[in-house]
Symmetry: C2
Subunit: 425 residues, 2 copies
């Protein structure tokens, strides 16, 4: 087979695709819009359904065949001449009061690239599929990469009826409300993937503080999340003397500050975050009897994660003993890090050079679908800059010129993977 | 006028009224029942309406005339021969996940006493009214003694449309849903009160740890509540380096521990409590950008409350500067303490002696309706024991024998006030 040649792709193409991506982001951010430009689009919610419907229509209008997998992920396919699929995209759900770019910009960038290839480069050797993943953030259910786990066959049979959201709805019922059958989840498993390429916003300050437009992401740090439950003694804020208290909120405060101290002492890349803290009963005139908090901690080395985990357990025990409260620690998430495929990383770097874009290699400090999908096929990621380094908040922004540059790198890399080569090899 | 003589009141009467009170508490705790025997009965809720309806029927069945005032307080009246009213009772609303005794036991004890007097002692000189107060806890709205403020003419004209509950409902709309007219609140003001006597559970450990059955409460400590809002910078829990964070939850943790330190350093009777803490955005993988917490602090001396207030403001400023977050402190409640009427306290002590019950004098460390009503007429309180000193939690309990003793003291004191004397004088 003769090596395929990429059709002309210049500054006009880049500008046109950036415009198309911005138009899509502007339209998609309406679904789950919150005050101040934010987005709350939780999996299987009406807002999520509306965004998925809009993406389906957009895939179809670009000549892609649309399929919905068993967990509701949408796939827009450009059929190739031979077996095997190059998958590309990211997730559609958001965190609570997040921004309009996290996840969904990756779907839009992948969609722009594959739609352009469909219109200009003809039929690929390997099929290309745009991946509009149902769920990644665990914002509604503690479901831990739901979409990517379905795709890699890692959802346990009992999970759908067990996972509850804050209102007590099971994820199985939430699926049924979207017309999905939780009994069919195993059918989402793929064995035809040849490569996976995930574009995403950086969600941090590295690119924004440099002149680089693209980060070639060659690994992802490991993430662990524990839930700490502290059971003290509730009581009246006036009549319970200070010396007689077993205040669960004060215990939680000591744990939060202690977790910060551990991460600061270890230094970068260690981070530890208490992101959620619930207080019961919660009245201003009630001594808190029960608190539940999460501790999210991350590091590139598994051995350091083990050490942090151990230190946190010691901290919680010490605080609980000091205040006479009962403590429980449950592991909510334990996601090992990953090293990505060197071949795809190199292709991304070549594509950046061809596009005349400054780039750097870096690890991701955030978890991504690619760390699961990368265990079943060669994978890599590229980052585009987050203005100000901001993410998971309403003012997330990636500039149109950076989106355009990223899409060009996507077009060139996907062309190399699906038209010229045999996937990542 | 000849001095009236109390009809025979002995151990049989005490036991019968204790049984009636327990029957009423058992029935009333169904309205707003939560798991584990708790009660959540917020003002103007359906549960509150059901409890009020049951109390109305009970008052009527005891021969009392029922009136509903402009804010929904129920009054069960035994008409006297001359002008002037001896008021007695407490509040019907509860804290969130509180117990079955706080407030409403006082209504039931007052109701038992006045129903017995109506049946056995004939018409009093001064009218007796049982006070089933609509609201005292500020658990749904930050409305700060709503019922007692209405009765003493202290609700501002703009308040009803301004006060919001957590779901954004105004207290005016909540009143309308109960058939009450928020425009008529001024009509609830009373100018006919001659005395107020409030029975209540102690909500603390003093009686339970002693052999005393009754506390004659001669003053109430002052209470202040401030709301602290901390505005930091939200972000991604992975990509935001520790050194670059302005974490609003860590700032809140320092404030909570600092408030505890201030109260412990001052020593009893100073207390300080962070009872509520909200975290935004609140996802486990989001650095907290905003927190809001309440600090409730109490002391018998106004000058010490001023000093604590000043220390807390210094603490918040120091924490905010240290973490680069914005801080705001709003005063949510500033309730001065009160010294109760010595004449009513003496009558309570006489009644305890006549009933053969051990008693002690003590201050209340909790706020009560009596501290407002006591500014417009002579007032005092009596406490009955809280088992284990527990309150504002589901396992609140006062033993039937203590309830019976308290009712006998109520009968004897109300008889002295309404049949024998001219109110408290």
């Amino acid at each position: 087979m003769a090596t395929a040649v990429l059709p002309r792709f210049g500054t006009d193409e880049r500008a046109a695709l950036a415009g198309e991506a911005v138009r899509m982001i502007t339209s998609l951010r309406r679904h789950g819009a919150t005050a101040g430009g934010g987005v709350t689009r939780l999996v299987y919610s009406p807002e999520w359904q509306a965004a998925m419907a809009e993406l389906e229509a957009w895939f179809r209008s670009g000549g892609l065949e649309v399929r919905v997998d068993a967990v509701g992920t949408r796939l827009g396919r450009l059929q190739g001449r031979q077996a095997g699929v190059v998958l590309t995209g990211s997730h559609v759900d958001s965190v609570v009061t997040g921004g309009a770019y996290d996840g969904i910009l990756g779907v839009v960038m992948a969609g722009c690239a594959v739609r352009w290839l469909a219109a200009n480069a003809g039929r690929p050797a390997l099929s290309l599929e745009v991946f509009a993943n149902c769920e990644e953030e665990s914002s509604r259910f503690a479901c831990n990469f739901w979409g990517a786990r379905a795709l890699t066959g890692r959802i346990g049979p009992a999970e759908p009826e067990k996972l509850l959201d804050a209102s007590g709805t099971t994820i199985a019922d939430a699926m049924r409300l979207c017309g999905l059958d939780p009994g069919a989840i195993a059918e989402a498993k793929r064995d035809d993937l040849v490569a996976y390429l995930e574009p995403h916003i950086e969600q941090g300050p590295v690119l924004a503080r440099s002149d680089d437009v693209i980060a070639v992401v060659d690994r992802i740090v490991g993430v662990r999340v524990v839930t700490v439950t502290l059971e003290g003694v509730a009581g009246h804020a006036g009549t319970m003397p200070m010396a007689a208290r077993h205040d669960a909120l004060l215990a939680a405060s000591e744990v939060a500050l202690g977790a910060e101290e551990i991460a600061r002492r270890l230094g970068a890349p260690a981070v530890a975050t208490v992101g959620s803290l619930e207080v019961q009963p919660g009245g201003f005139n009630q001594v808190p009897g029960r608190t539940r908090l999460t501790i999210d901690f991350r590091h590139t080395e598994e051995s350091t994660l083990d050490a942090i985990d151990e230190e946190l357990r010691t901290l919680v025990r010490r605080v609980a003993e000091g205040r006479g409260v009962q403590a429980r620690i449950d592991t909510r998430l334990g996601q090992p890090g990953i090293r990505f495929d060197e071949g795809i990383c190199k292709r991304l770097e070549n594509a950046c050079d061809e596009a005349g874009l400054e780039w750097r290699r870096m690890p991701s400090h955030a978890g991504h679908d690619a760390q699961l999908i990368g265990t079943v096929c060669p994978a890599a990621m590229l980052f585009v800059p987050s203005q100000g380094g901001h993410s998971h908040r309403p003012d997330e922004l990636t500039l149109p010129e950076h989106i355009g540059g990223g899409i060009e790198v996507m077009v060139r890399t996907l062309f190399a993977l699906a038209y010229q080569g045999n996937g990542a090899r």
